[in-house]
Amino acid sequence: MIEKKIIKEHGLTEQEYEKIVELIGREPNLTELGIFSLMWSEHCSYKSSKIHLKKLPTSGENVIQGPGENAGIMDIGDGLAIVFKIESHNHPSFIEPYQGAATGVGGILRDIFTMGARPIALMDSLRFGPLSQAHNKSIMEGVVSGIAGYGNSIGIPTVGGEIYFNKCYSPNPLVNVFCIGLARKEKIFYAKAEGAGNSVLYVGSKTGRDGIHGATMASAEFDEDLEKKRPNVQVGDPFKEKLLLEACLEVMDKDLIVGIQDMGAAGLTCSTSEMASNSGSGIAINLDLVPQREEGMTPYEIMLSESQERMLIVAKRDKVQAVQEIFEKWDLEAIHIGQVTDGDKLKVEANGQEVVNIPVDSIVNLCPVYDRPFERPAYLDKLDQLDSLPLPENLNQTLLDLLTDPTQADKEWVFRQYDHMVQTNTALLPGADASVIRIKGTKKALATTLDGNPLYSYLDPKSGGKIAVAEACRNLSCVGAYPIGVTNCLNFGNPEKPEIMWQFKEIVEGISEACLAFDIPITGGNVSFYNETDGKPIHPTPVLGIVGIIPDLDKSIGPGFIDNGEAIFLLGNNRDEIGGTAYLKSQFQMEKGRPPQIDLEEEKRVQNLCLEAIDDGLLSSAHDISEGGLALCLFECAFLSAKKIGCVVHLSDNIRSDSLLFGETQSRILVTAPSHHLSRILNLAKERGVFAKKIGETGGAKIEIGHQNKTLIDLDVQTAFQAWKQAIPESFKIR
């Protein structure tokens, strides 16, 4: 008889417990209860998010695998498929920044290579509290070196990412990691356990008492009890993972296995039951055969352990030895721990006794699904009005402040710790709008980007969701890539609070609407709830990872000015939209106002124009206008130009000058072209129904922005560049 207290400690409600009893027809024993508690945790079951996630569009002609597997898969032609996914590792990184982030990388890599793909790039989306506080600095330092330590060692380039700073992430950071891999279409593998009698093999690291309750922890809000709950955080072993990667890809290449699944959150429990459930079979394992790192581990501990760098393989009966030989070549063991069975049960044996006997379906598929109540948060009523703001006296200074705000400042301090060039495919280095990865043996390249503005999402969740998609696509358009598929990581507070649930619902609807407009399917993602500290939630933070294809890499362009004397064009309209901007936050410490609104049809026209002009070879550079507005965009184009070329720009719009410079109106791209392309570009824009205008010329060592008859900005590129470049390193020098 299991006590109520124990049920509660396992994060299950009494109703959930009753349902368990009903499903298995008796009271579970403790090990079985542990199994349910893991698999029915928010993290594994998506019980609060499922009904909303259903609204996301997931189909498309090139989709080979949508949500539901370890990662999404899309056909990219030439017999190749891409496999990609994003995962969060927020809670572990909060507790132990280095190992938390490192094992996050390890986990997402396994999600990719478990499907038969060789990982070709990583990206990271990070959110920290302000660097003025020492503990945020040390969290950031740990997270960045953890990602570097793991990814660099395995030889997967970390080609890009994004970082925002906001006090809502202090001290609860967000660490989302994206990975993309490349597979031959006929060599894709799934988490299948087919064919009764086939062998279940355990490969990789030994099982220890790591992170027992890690998955349930990821579903519990942090509070002052944190100290007591502090679990045993896993330590990553990237070298072991590299061996595992090579060995797994080799057995897959030689067609020796039936199915394979990584042991991530919920370890042995999740991998055995999911593989069986996916194939409508049963599975039986003997825990005495499981390699163990520590003595005296109980069945409960072995089943719930989250030790890293482990995989479960179902091998064809007559191929077990061949599999074992390959693992031996890589100094690993593939150990037979059980077999696939007829029926539908997960049966676990230890010390000659049956310790678990439950239907796989009950743990994998029959967790209750909740339609949690939602309600528009009251805070929104207060945020909408902006009282009239004074115009800054010195706009040059305002611009420098914006440039040196860590959210806008140069991130080289971060990405130079990442090996972003290994595999020799990185055609556009970090710092640009999107990352460009060539596909050897073809003319093509992939472009990838991560995006999600937490401020917009906080102020207007639905727009935030839409803009995240639109902006990610815009980033791809700027390098000449056509968006093809989406993955997303949704980071939120406690879903049991109606306001949080409302934010969630709105954002999912916004994402959905935008994906439909762009006609791009969502192939997977991740939801991270309970990002709260002492009851204070983070801003709702959707992170969109979008992948695009560049048909001909030779035509791709970057954001930096290429040459002196080129024409600068603005594609899209300037509007008076100042709410939710980085400018308000940096200049007035305000997180207020209505964030920019987006017309998805207009957005598409602008992006298509940009893509067409790149394809026609008309453009030299393209950069999208986002945080910091038009002014910041111009400076970035100068900073990212090899020769640090400046420009002179003149604007005539009837808009308040700060709003014109720093407003974040959507659907705008700044492009440059040789002047003799002027009429072709303007004509093309007209034909495509896009407002386009020449606003200036590149050249010189300064950036000058004039408005009507006034000079608003007049700054030396080098001065601004040094300030921008030094901002983050400087904040780490001060201890």
């Binding site: 070196s145 570097a148 330590g149 660099n152 060692s153 395995i154 030889g155 072993d237 990237p238 070298f239 072991k240 590299k242 061996l243 090579e246 070549k329 890589w330 100094d331 080289e412 990405f415 130079r416 710790q417 990442y418 090996d419 972003h420 060039m421 290994v422 595999q423 020799t424 990185t426 055609a427 280095l429 060539r438 050897k440 890499l553």
Partner: protein
């Protein structure tokens, strides 16, 4: 002419190097597995970058015990050309084929970026296509690239003209600013006394195609090919 690229379990620039030799230079290139005793009659052995054994103890420390390394040592003793890139350089140091040792980068962080290196010696099989004083732009990607040797060790290197590359500024100036990782004498690459074994921290295979932003690394491969021809 045949090139052999060594694969340790944690090598990760093995294929990058292979691709450059095969696709850019059209050379016959084979892989050499660390557990084998066979160097397959190659004319030049390259120890590629990566984390041979996770670099857990010290970079390159454990790789030197691989069975293949005994063969590589013999090959080198007989005058065969051996090039160690990044982790390969670290292995050559641990193996004792090259003098000195690597410390952590001076800023205690992993560094991945393009750097400038100046060719100090043209009369080697690895640089004969370049010019003394020529500045190359090539990426580095390492945590332990801060070259160290005792005062006497460094003097010997200088006396015997064994420093092949130095980190520099873009104009070739040797300075603290250009010396990104804090190496003694700004050492980016050295050669043994016999002149057939070279180690360098920068990755020439990452700078051998225009699409990757630099082709300066080709000088090194082309020099080897010329030398062997």
């Amino acid at each position: 002419m045949k090139f052999g690229i060594v694969i340790f379990p944690g090598s990760n620039c093995d294929y990058d190097t292979f691709n450059v030799l095969r696709d850019v230079f059209h050379m016959e290139t084979v892989f050499l597995w660390h557990k084998d005793h066979n160097i397959k009659d190659v004319d030049c052995i390259i120890l590629p970058g990566g984390f041979s054994y996770g670099d857990y103890l010290r970079s390159g420390a454990i790789a030197r015990f691989s069975p293949l390394m005994q063969e590589v040592k013999e090959f080198a003793m007989k005058g065969g050309l051996v090039l160690g890139i990044c982790n390969g350089f670290q292995v050559l140091l641990e193996l004792g084929l090259l003098p000195g040792a690597m410390l952590r980068n001076k800023n205690l962080k992993f560094l991945c970026q393009h750097v400038h290196i100046r060719i100090e010696e043209k009369k080697t099989p690895f640089t004969k296509r370049g010019e003394k004083g020529q500045v190359l732009r090539i990426p580095i990607a390492h945590f332990d690239g801060n070259y160290y040797d005792s005062e006497e060790g460094i003097e010997t290197l200088i006396e015997n003209n064994q420093i092949v590359f130095r980190y520099s500024e873009h104009n070739g100036l040797i300075s603290d600013k250009g010396n990104v990782n804090g190496s003694k004498e700004s050492v980016a690459g050295i050669i043994n006394k016999a002149g057939n074994v070279m180690g360098m921290m920068p990755h020439p295979e990452r700078a051998s195609e225009a699409i990757l932003g630099s082709e300066d690394g080709k000088i090194i491969f082309q020099s080897i090919i010329d030398w062997l021809a």
